[in-house]
């Protein structure tokens, strides 16, 4: 059965990518931006017409919107299939991807001057792969897209990045690719262990088999429980690199600092969400019993990521590094929300993915705009930027408050849900302690953001480079403004996404034993 909607979305994006790749450099920027409006409009139409009805993996077909499922071919008793669709978790991420891609493309107009058609074409190719990751419901399809993301990302950082771009690009590539191999082995071992009880790599079918209590014992000599534990750990490690969780986060600051602004926006805004999305889909939906068994160590990782990431941010002197490390910290909240296994906590974690995507996108873009005119990102090189760039700085400050969790901004809503959810958790022992420790992270976040802003934005104007500070172009500031509006809109009306997220999360929380 082919619905065609998602296929059309992917095809349009891919065709746009190839069209931009072969277009002349002069038109590439405008052409890519214009073409990116097509998937954006498409995803919004999908969003408005989407009827949330449960979790795609747990509830199966009835909960999947825009579903397409056709057999591809058989391999070893397992049918590979083309299987895509969305539910309340995937839909917001699809919208996030298309929105951020269009804004990132606009933010590239100023900084990207070389090999433009290749740059914009690759960004659109990245968008197509990301959309594939969030809509795929068959492991093979999902994995193809998951790996396909790496190629444009590697090139985008490696070609258009800063001075240490080659090192950063290869580090990102090696880290995430080794992680992919580990998770691939873990997942495939789990599926083979299930033996004849699954006939496809379809994620709903595998989830169903595991829920029905089929013990994966198809692999000779490996017990069911140890296989599940092995699969869980392998997948957790694989996804943790992508998220990233301390201590496998070291590729991220390097990648962010070297990546050009629009790539940082997509990296922080969407790519990191691949990791948390996959954790939710695979580890927490498929193997809830292992996840609850391991709740304490996972929560420890989450809290360490929150606190340690924030402390690292505190120690940085480069504005972009500050924002980069704060992503590590924010993603820690997502993990904490997941491990709580309450509807509100896991939904909050999902909402935090969206919220953080928008806010970190805003922050990276704002740093990029400042860098465009000052050519420095060092905190010590500048002071009093508010004097010269009032609008940009104003939005930057607003975004930073969103990060700190100011009410009526999406960051507040997300962190509030996460903390309420994790506080109430019945699955996580001594949940209030973990919650309290993680909440302390907010204090550090506020500390480093205020400190950095005070030094660079306020006070007397001073700039230790020989660049004249002009005004930022309108097209540099416009995406910032749009992002700020979205952040506020989601803060005031979290139900824009929260409602559909909750319908999809409730089944997950209930199989995990939470409420």
């Amino acid at each position: 059965m082919i619905d065609g909607t998602i296929e059309a979305l992917l095809a349009v994006t891919l065709v746009a990518s190839f069209a931009v790749l072969v277009s002349p450099d002069r038109y590439a920027a405008k052409l890519a931006t214009a073409l990116s409006l097509l998937p954006l409009a498409g995803s919004l139409v999908m969003w408005s017409g989407f009827e949330p009805a449960g979790n795609a993996l747990v509830d199966g077909e009835s909960a999947i919107g825009y579903m397409s499922q056709v057999e591809w071919f058989d391999l070893g008793g397992i049918t590979l299939q083309w299987f895509v669709g969305v539910d309340g978790v995937a839909m917001p991420l699809v919208v996030l991807t298309t929105v951020l891609t269009t804004l990132a493309l606009v933010s590239a107009w100023t900084p990207i001057s070389e090999r433009q058609s290749q740059f914009y074409g690759l960004v659109l190719f990245l968008e197509a792969s990301l959309l594939g990751v969030f809509t795929a419901l068959d492991f093979f399809v999902w994995f193809v897209f998951w790996e396909a993301v790496l190629v444009p990302m590697y090139l985008l950082i490696g070609v258009w990045g800063g001075p240490r771009r080659k090192y950063a690009a290869i580090k990102m590539f090696v880290y995430t690719n080794v992680a992919s191999l580990v998770l691939f082995i873990g997942f495939v071992a789990l599926v083979f262990g299930l033996g004849d009880s699954v006939a496809t790599f379809g994620l709903p079918e595998i989830t169903q088999a595991l829920r029905d209590g089929v013990a994966p014992d198809g692999l000779p000599g490996v017990g069911a429980e140890s296989l599940k534990l092995f699969a869980f750990l392998a997948m957790f490690v694989g996804f943790a690199v992508k998220v990233p969780v301390v201590p496998v986060h070291t590729w991220l600051p390097d990648a962010h600092v070297e990546a050009p602004t629009p790539v940082s926006v997509l990296l922080a805004g969407v790519l990191l969400k691949m990791g948390t999305y996959a954790l939710l889909r695979f580890n927490f939906t498929m193997l809830p019993d292992i996840a609850t068994d391991l709740a304490v160590p996972i929560a420890v990782f989450a809290v360490v990521s929150v606190i340690y990431g924030a402390m690292l941010a505190l120690a940085q002197t480069d504005l972009k590094r500050i924002v980069a490390y704060s992503s590590v910290s924010s993603m820690g909240y997502v993990i904490l929300g997941l491990v709580a296994y309450t509807t509100i906590g896991v939904s909050g974690a999902t909402f935090q993915m969206i919220s953080h995507g928008l806010i970190s996108g805003l922050m990276f873009m704002a740093v990029g705009v400042i860098y465009n005119v000052t050519h420095t990102r060092m905190v010590s090189d500048m002071s009093g930027m508010a004097d010269r760039m009032p609008v940009t700085v104003g939005i930057f400050v607003a975004g930073a408050f969103g990060y700190m969790g100011l009410p009526l901004m999406s960051g507040f809503a997300a962190e509030f849900f996460v903390f309420v959810g994790s506080f109430q958790s019945t699955v996580l022992p001594s949940a209030p302690v973990f919650t309290g420790a993680a909440m302390f992270g907010i204090v550090i976040v506020a500390g480093y953001l205020l400190l950095a802003m005070q030094k660079t934005l306020f006070g007397e104007f001073r700039l230790d480079t020989d660049y004249e500070v002009g005004r930022a172009a309108f097209h540099d500031v416009a995406p910032l403004f749009v992002l700020l509006l979205l952040v506020i809109a989601l803060g005031v009306f979290p139900d824009l996404f929260m409602e559909m997220i909750e319908t999809a999360i409730e089944p997950v929380a209930s199989i995990g034993g939470g409420a």
Partner: protein
């Protein structure tokens, strides 16, 4: 097995041989006599249509189908010759010779595909046995004939530009086609005698081809090394054959198997003979311990020939190893009755070969040499097919079939990668990673194709290399050899490092100084792009290859049982 003992069953091989001779004839007829020759070709072609019409009435058997297909293809071949004449009546013979070579290889491929389709759609299709069972044409033969033919077509297409300004071009194409004939016959060889003859037929032209650039020291040195090690391994192989013959009194593979089924008192002699046979295969497939010629030969040879030898010749070496060891030395039976565990030998060789190939590739500075070592690494992956045969018998066809799938895909992705090197050599760019810096800006299409080859070789899901490796490791796991799959997976992850270095050089690095690329060679470009397109298309279109390969494996594995149906549900 019964036989339609028709020579037509050998069509794919005959095509290559006939084209090789045709190329020589075309070259020897001077320019003045080309018009009558071309007209004659056209007349002959029309006559072939008549033959095809006659054949159509005899249809139903492999013989009838064969006559029809060949007559039709022959007509086309001669029409191509005529057309080339019309296009370029006064030009050199270069274009004519190259087109005929490509056309011949394409017809050979088409013929093999046609027979494969016949096997795939006819439920009672039977293998054709020829010359007193010395040759056999079954699905495995045809699959490897298809590999040889497609590689030959790509190589011949690319060689048109690569050979610009060289002497002895017709001889070059003829040697390529004759070597390809040898490889096709290797695929069909069903007795140790024909195995040896076919191997020599494939080897002798290859020696000359590696040394083709006779004013280039590297090429000549490579040819000499290749020849000397080839001669050594041939003598090993011949000695091994003699020991097997001494033990069993037979050369024909099924006869060897039946002689051994009752046991033998000369176990030691048989074991040493088999070990020597393994040595011969190792040479042909560039596996440990006879791998050390490969980096020299691949690096020194003209790049299209490196592509040819590393893809087609390797595949041909493997098909012989598959057939000899599964048919003559049936794994389970031999081990049970005689205690000769040759599977263990292949397990050791597989692990050592892939590890050595990958580690050595990671340390290279020269791209061509890196690809040569990577080719050794891939031989190690393919060896998993034989190394896993001692396990769960019913899974043998999956893993052996997976080896065949990998060789098929490898025939495109590896050939393409070496042809990209040929393109770079054509431009006169250097050979190291540094020299490749910034190529992506000057030649984005070719570099995009190269990126596809490299990622597919590494096993990323941009090309069919991902699926063939996946099935291979999956097969090894389900046959009970998870550790072989684990070693393979680790090696595969490592390989990404050195493949990515090329991608990085092409796209990310800044060019050193001025990089000027002279010309856009049509033939080379067409070959590289065609190989890339096939590599990508085989990802969604993997099923027919997988099905054919597993059926082919099933046919040669007596113990595999009837798992084909279970596997494909």
């Amino acid at each position: 097995m019964s036989s339609h003992a028709s020579l037509f069953a050998l069509g794919p091989a005959l095509y290559l041989a006939a084209t090789g001779l045709l190329v020589l004839v075309l070259d020897s007829v001077g320019r003045t006599t080309r018009l009558p020759f071309a007209l004659g070709s056209a007349v002959f072609g029309v006559a072939a249509v008549g033959a095809a019409a006659v054949a159509a009435f005899t249809g139903g058997t492999l013989l009838g189908l064969g006559v029809g297909a060949h007559a039709f293809a022959a007509m086309n071949a001669f029409l191509v010759a005529f057309l080339v004449y019309l296009v370029d009546p006064s030009g050199s013979n270069r274009l004519l010779v190259a087109s005929v070579a490509v056309a011949g290889a394409v017809f050979s491929l088409g013929n093999a595909a046609y027979y494969l389709a016949y096997f795939g759609t006819t439920s009672d299709a039977q293998a054709a046995l020829l010359f007193g069972d010395q040759l056999v044409v079954d699905q495995m033969s045809l699959l490897f004939m298809a590999i040889a033919a497609s590689v030959t077509a790509l190589v011949a297409l690319a060689s048109y530009d690569y050979l610009e300004g060289h002497a002895y071009q017709a001889e070059y194409y003829a040697l390529v086609l004759l070597a390809a004939t040898g490889m096709s016959l290797m695929a069909a060889a069903n007795s140790l005698a024909t195995v040896f003859v076919a191997m020599e037929l494939a080897s002798l032209p290859s020696f000359a081809l590696v040394a083709f650039l006779k004013k280039n020291r590297g090429s000549v040195e490579a040819g000499l090394k290749y020849f000397l090690i080839g001669a050594l391994s041939s003598s090993f192989f011949a000695y091994g054959i003699s020991l097997v013959y001494a033990t069993t009194g037979s050369l024909q593979l099924e006869a060897v198997a039946s002689a051994l089924s009752g046991g033998t008192e000369f176990v030691g002699m048989l074991g040493i003979g088999m070990l020597m046979l393994v040595g011969g295969f190792a040479y042909k497939t560039a596996s440990v311990p006879f791998h050390f010629w490969a980096p020299e030969a691949y690096e020194g040879a003209p790049a299209p020939i490196s592509a040819f030898i590393s893809s087609a010749s390797k595949a041909a070496g493997f098909v012989i190893a598959f057939r000899v060891f599964t048919v003559a030395f049936t794994p389970a039976g031999l081990f049970a009755s005689l205690g000769i565990d040759w599977v263990l030998v292949f397990q050791i060789l597989a692990v050592v070969t892939m590890t050595l190939g990958n580690f050595a590739a990671a340390t290279q500075e020269n791209v061509k040499r890196m690809l040569a070592y990577s080719s050794i690494g891939h031989a190690g992956y393919v060896l998993i097919g034989l190394a896993s045969l001692g396990g769960v018998a019913s899974q043998g066809d999956t893993v052996l079939g997976a080896s065949m799938m990998h060789l098929f895909v490898y025939g495109f992705m590896n050939t393409g990668a070496f042809l990209f090197i040929a393109l770079v050599e054509y431009w006169g760019v250097g050979r190291t990673f540094e020299d490749y810096a910034g190529l992506g800006r000057k030649a984005p299409v070719a570099c995009a194709a190269m990126t596809v080859f490299l990622f597919s070789l590494a096993g990323l899901p941009v090309g069919a290399g991902f699926l063939s490796k996946y099935v291979l490791f999956f097969g090894a796991v389900s046959a009970g050899f998870w550790w072989l799959a684990a070693v393979g997976a680790i090696n595969s992850a490592l390989s990404l490092y050195y493949y990515t270095r090329v991608v990085k050089a092409m796209w990310v690095e800044e060019p050193n100084g001025e990089l000027e690329l002279q010309g856009r060679p049509t033939g080379l470009y067409a070959a590289v792009v065609a190989a890339a397109v096939v590599t990508v298309l085989l990802l969604p279109g993997f099923f027919p290859i997988a099905e054919t390969a597993i059926e082919a494996a099933n046919a040669v594995l007596p113990n595999a049982g009837d798992t084909t149906t279970a596997f494909f549900g």
